[in-house]
Amino acid sequence: MSIEVDEVKKIAKLAALNVDDADLQSYATNLSNILDLVAQMDAVDTTGVTPMSHPFDAVQRLREDKVTEVDRREAFQKIAPNTEDGLYLVPKVIE
């Protein structure tokens, strides 16, 4: 499996990662090698095998629909990069 530089650019965009042009080639090589390793999976026929999503095949536990969390907005916003009047600030999205 060979991943080209253009494909790394596409994946990086999907992953919301800004990758320096200088690093693209080394990522392409690394990703190709990792996918070669992963390709070993094809050696085994898995027709009819159920995918395993949990070690005990447990199902998601549900809780009662009631409020359990207390309001800690101030504590949580104190660690944010930029807030104002209880809101998180980001660059303007709509002109």
Partner: protein, 495 residues
Amino acid sequence: MSNYHTKTVTELSAMLQAGEVSSVELTRYFLDRIKNSDDKLNSFITVCEEQAMVQAKESDEKLKTGNAPALTGVPIAHKDIFCTDGVKTSCGSKMLDSFISPYDATVVTNMRNAGVVMLGKTNMDEFAMGSSNETSFYGAVKNPWNLKAVPGGSSGGSAAAVGARLAPASTGTDTGGSIRQPAAFCGITGLKPTYGRVSRFGMIAFASSLDQAGPMGQSASDCALLLNAMAGFDDKDSTSIEKSVPDYSADLNKPLDGLRIGLPKEYFEHTEGGMNAEVEATIKAALDQYKAMGAELIEIELPNSGLSVPVYYVVAPAECSTNLSRFDGVRYGYRCEDPKDLNDLYTRSRGEAFGAEVQRRIMVGTYALSSGYYDAYYLKAQKLRHLISDDFTKAYEKVDVIMAPATPETAFNIGEKTDDPISMYLSDIYTIAVNLAGIPAMSIPVGFANNSSGVSMPVGMQIIGNHFEEAKLLNVAHQYQQKTDWHKQMPEEFQ
């Protein structure tokens, strides 16, 4: 002259309970040890001197009442992956360099309720992604047995700190071997419990279906005490298991007569990248010791175990790419300077703050989950995961525990594998299958073998159990540690 660092948690706990030492004295002693020696190791990211002394004083008050829990006043270190209220929680990343957690992880709460004093937060591979502790934003950790060698990873700081006795014990997390491999490299005892046994709440997520926290200490007896405090159902973790916690210390002294030990033939075959001859000889000597103690050695098969590494490098990156999407530079963590728009804010914050290994894994995961590839990668891996897990289920019909090397070789040198991610990944070939199956496993020190530079370094052996068989693993490990003293060896430089 006091020599508290030569004492296990089990011994320190007894001394505290008997009033032979105070928690304040003990905590001061280990804080001084960290201050004097950690320059050599870089095993701590944060030392919590003030808080530790406050907690120590509280512990001494509790001890005076005469009914304080067993671990009251024992100082330990937490891996910096666990959120600690009011204390920096970096996860080894530039992304969280300024992150002061507003809450405690359940593990931290449970340990505090059990009376433990927190000395500080240990260094680790960035977001627990690595096998050598070299991906940390805070620099590599050194192995206390040889400062040129890695301590293993991702819980490398925790392992090095305990190996050098800068802390009597520590917590770690294990997604593909991150407790067992560094425990092996640093000559200590580590336990990865059954998936869901210990709460993941407040433990920064890497691969949610594999992540599990566990204790790292000097002996099986110590790990039992620590697991007693860590384990338990938590309704804040949706995959936490609703099952009562046994007393893990209760079975330690059971004799091993008739114990059936399975030896996976695939792990003992001579293949490229498999265990080297010196490690093999050391493991065989340990198995002979078990035979002498009344155990029976039985060859078993784990035919799909060879696929563990490829399966893991789909499942773990896929889950990591999802989990790490929360780091967007908006609510917490690193934000780039002068973002020109929202997309620039996201992509530049992430690109600047994640290290290369984390970015590689995010990209592999993103690719594997992207439209058109999901079936070929993630679904295929989940199917193979079932086969790997079934292999263990079948094996446990014939044996009580499985034994295997923890690593193919002893601790390699810093820089030796950094240029080749695949060779780094393969250092976890013996540990990964356990995470995929969700079963518990330990690594215990069983001797020494030369590494690739000819330096004698600790060898770890894994003891792998069926689901919820932690007590049996601890019993099997403890009995060995009653007959041998590998777990008591200490690196010369830190004696």
